[in-house]
């Protein structure tokens, strides 16, 4: 049966074009791939290649014709053993066949047409996090630093699962730039505790590839400032592959390291990336403030089948806390914690921000204001329920973060409060953030650039109209 050649589209938006030139004439033999015509639009001239073999039986649209609609038959190709008479006999059938198997724009009804514009998007799934596990009565509490808690979490998970390994700069022989991986090389050997070259983009990608193949890497960034070199692999490869593969191929990987301001290291070593990563579907973002949470959440992060960004804080590494001595202390991802109960105002923070928040609560108590302080612990998925329950009780909220205000986590929290507890608010939500400047080096300026306890106290008082 003769085959129709249709007017092609150069892009999905093209509707018509001009048939500029025929490069073959009727009777010419045609091989697949031969250039048979040139078409033009206002944007470009393009060559039309034959994708069938045979003889050019008839030209249906003459050279120089303007505004030929996409998918109009422009010529007929005859197969072996056919001649011009087959065109006449077959013509209606042929064009009908083309219309069936290849619905032109006009005949799109044949194809399940996109209905997205009319169909409402389904509801996003609601994430429900479990509660923290009960700590059995009489459990021994061990005092340890956050640094030790993180190390123990990694060591326990590496003992449990041979697919878990750690890689990063100076994690092995040097024992970690901040000594978080201390002792791991000695226990697990250099197959599983791997010093990398200074190659953030490369090893973040290599780790992601290993995770796609089923291993469970813990990738340490010396600090998250350097992960900017790797952010393409983290977002485009680690976070999106599960979705782009229709659920076939995901990766269980933890990217961890200190995030945010340390002390006097200036602009390039002090950025807080909490809002950057918590913007990305496909990532989980965790940022603990205590040793116990660090341990329980890092263990959860390593077991989680998804890519997890684990934001630590250098200022907190040396802080000691009470960690329950349990065989397997794992905390739920996505669950905030009431760090201090109160009824007058809700202060929401995480990581080092909790220092300001808790100290401010102490100050406020002196003035008779009982602040409830929420430690988010996980930024994505964010535990909206805990925030909302508290705000419904207090009617007032202050967010505290070291990162910048615009598009910051505080902005997100305020929006969620507006969406879910607007009628309960007695004052607009206030936010305390880092000042929108690159972090200065000078001690006095650095102090000013970061949030302060006084700012948090003042904000809390102002939302209480005090």
């Amino acid at each position: 049966m003769p085959t129709n050649i249709l007017m092609p589209a150069l892009s999905p938006t093209m509707e018509k074009g001009n048939l500029a030139k025929w490069l073959k004439k009727e009777g010419d033999a045609i091989k697949s791939g031969d250039i048979i015509a040139e078409i033009e639009t206002d944007k470009a001239t393009m060559e039309v290649e034959a994708s069938d073999e045979g003889t050019l039986g008839k030209i249906l649209v003459a050279e120089g014709t303007q505004d030929v609609a996409v998918n109009t038959p422009i010529a007929v190709i005859l197969n072996d053993g056919e001649n011009a008479s087959s065109i006449k006999a077959e013509q209606p059938a042929a064009s009908q066949k083309a219309a069936e198997s290849a619905p032109p724009a006009a005949a799109k009804a044949e194809v399940p047409a996109p209905k997205a514009d009319k169909t409402p998007a389904p509801q996003a799934p609601v994430v429900e996090a479990a509660n923290d596990p009960d700590i059995p009565e009489g459990t021994e509490m061990v005092t340890m630093t956050m640094r030790e808690a993180l190390r123990d979490a990694m060591a326990e998970e590496m003992r449990r699962d041979g697919d878990v390994f750690v890689m990063g700069e100076e994690v092995a022989e040097y024992q970690g730039a901040y000594k978080v991986t201390q002792g791991l090389l000695q226990e697990f050997g250099d197959k599983r505790v791997i010093d990398t070259p200074i190659t953030e983009h490369g090893f973040a990608g290599l780790g992601t590839g290993a995770a796609l193949a089923g291993l469970k890497p813990i990738v340490e960034f010396m600090t998250f400032n350097f992960a900017m070199q790797a952010i393409d692999q983290i977002i485009n490869s680690a976070a999106k592959t599960l979705y782009m593969s229709g659920g076939q191929m995901g990766c269980s990987i933890v990217f961890r390291g200190p995030n945010g301001a340390a002390s006097r290291v200036a602009a390039q070593h002090s950025q807080d990336y909490a809002s950057w990563y918590s913007n990305i579907p496909g990532l989980r973002v965790i940022s603990p403030s205590t040793a116990a949470d660090a341990k329980g959440l890092l263990k959860a992060a390593i077991r989680d089948p998804n890519p997890v960004i684990f934001l630590e804080n250098e200022m907190l590494y040396g802080h000691s806390g009470q960690v329950p001595k349990l065989d397997d202390f794992v905390l739920p991802i996505g669950k905030a914690k009431i760090a201090r109960a109160g009824k007058d105002v809700t202060i929401i923070s995480w990581s080092n921000g909790m220092n300001y928040a808790l100290k401010a609560a102490d100050e406020l108590a002196k003035d008779g204001i009982e602040a409830e302080v929420i430690d988010l612990r996980t930024l994505k998925p964010m535990d909206t329920d805990t925030i909302i329950a508290s705000v419904k009780k207090t009617g007032r909220a202050v967010t505290v973060e070291e990162g910048w205000a615009q598009s910051g986590v505080g902005a997100e929290i305020a929006m969620r409060i507006m969406e879910h507890a607007f009628d309960y608010l007695d004052a607009p939500v206030a936010r305390i953030t880092g000042k929108e400047v690159p972090m200065p080096y000078a001690a006095n300026l650095e102090k000013l650039a970061l949030p302060s306890v006084a700012e948090v106290v003042e904000a809390a008082k102002s939302v209480c109209y005090r």
Binding site: A9, L10, S32, E49, P112, L212, S245, G282
Partner: protein, 342 residues
């Protein structure tokens, strides 16, 4: 510069070492290579047509002209080996043995596409067939492929990873970060550089200080060679050597495939950066499929009628895929929020 014709494996420009000598194919090998290359070619032509009809959207990068590379490389692999590449990936999937229906239905964004319609032309995967994508960011597949090789080494198996990338991607920094780690840790990865002479509209001579890309691993001590990527026998011979090198635990290997893409970079390419004559010359004198066809006839491996039968069966396979991809429904809207987390 006639990249496609280069036959020498030049480690240094003034020291032309002989390339891996090609080994003649058996009848079965020639016929099977012919069939797979033709399937890729016909598939791509059909995809181009369907794009023209508005059934395929977005970016769609065709592999026409480069078929011998992926088919020859695949002939050196065994079960368990892995393949990863960029966005010009349809041919790789077909060579990996994936059903053209699933590939075509992904191109049309339908429910039974390989990624349920959520990935499109540039993002498709199959764990079962060892195909790890399908990546849209130029060069990103290179560290990822190195990581797949890392996993093989970690597990102590003898699987090898092929990481394909283009002449343009060869200028990405992450490629060299990967080369360094791969050699340092002796990872079993073959870097297959598909040098089709252009990155979009930029010829490699305009973008690369060293255009002999097989030399790009030298300072990392990675051996490399140039291969006539239009001759499937040359590709297979080089692949055998490189894969054996990796399997033996000697570390990575670089194969620079001198090849050529006939079509535009993607579907909307005004093709102003090269002449029609340049394209025609490769096409008429060095087409990877024509060369096998001629050889098969010359050696009397098959008669014209036998080849016509193969051609017809390939055409049917591709038409079925197109038919399927045209009528398969779009993904259910309930799929919007699935597969973000496991």
């Amino acid at each position: 510069m006639s990249a496609v014709k280069a036959k020498s494996n030049t480690q240094t420009s003034d020291d032309p070492a002989p390339s891996t000598p090609l080994i003649e194919f058996s009848k079965e090998q020639d016929l099977s290579a012919y069939q797979t290359m033709l399937t890729i070619r016909r598939f791509e032509e059909k995809a181009g047509q369907m794009y023209g009809m508005g059934l395929i959207g977005g970016f769609c990068h065709l592999y026409i002209g480069q078929e011998a590379v992926v088919v020859g490389m695949q002939m050196a692999l065994k079960e368990g080996d892995q393949v990863i590449t960029g966005y010009r990936d349809h041919g790789h999937m077909i060579a990996c043995g994936l059903d053209p229906k699933g590939v075509m239905a992904e191109l049309t964004g339908r429910a039974h596409g390989l990624s349920k319609g959520k990935g499109g032309s540039m993002h498709m995967f199959s764990k079962e067939k060892g195909f790890y994508g399908g990546h849209g960011i130029v060069g990103a597949q290179v560290p990822l492929g190195t990581g797949l090789a890392f996993a093989n080494r970690y597990r102590g198996n003898d699987n090898v990873t092929l990481a394909y990338f283009g002449d343009g991607a060869a200028n990405q920094g992450q490629v060299y970060e990967s080369f360094n780690m791969a050699e340092l840790w002796k990872l079993p990865v073959v870097y297959v550089i598909e040098n089709n002479r252009y990155a979009m509209g930029t010829s490699s001579t305009r973008s690369s200080a060293e255009t002999n890309l097989s030399r790009r691993g030298l300072s990392f001590k990675i051996p490399g060679e140039q291969v006539d990527g239009m001759d499937v026998r040359a590709v297979k011979a080089a692949a055998d050597k490189a894969v054996a090198w990796c399997r033996a635990g000697k570390g990575p290997y670089i194969l620079e495939m001198l090849t050529y893409r006939y079509r535009g970079h993607s579907m909307s390419d005004p093709a102003k950066y090269r002449t029609r004559e340049e394209v025609d010359k490769v096409r008429t004198s060095h087409d990877p499929i024509d060369m096998v066809r001629q050889r098969v006839l010359d050696k009397k491996f098959a008669k014209e009628e036998d080849l016509k039968k193969i051609d017809a069966s390939v055409r049917d396979l591709v038409n079925e895929a197109a038919e399927f991809a045209t009528h398969d429904p779009e993904p259910d809207v309930s799929e919007l929020f699935t597969d973000i987390y496991r």
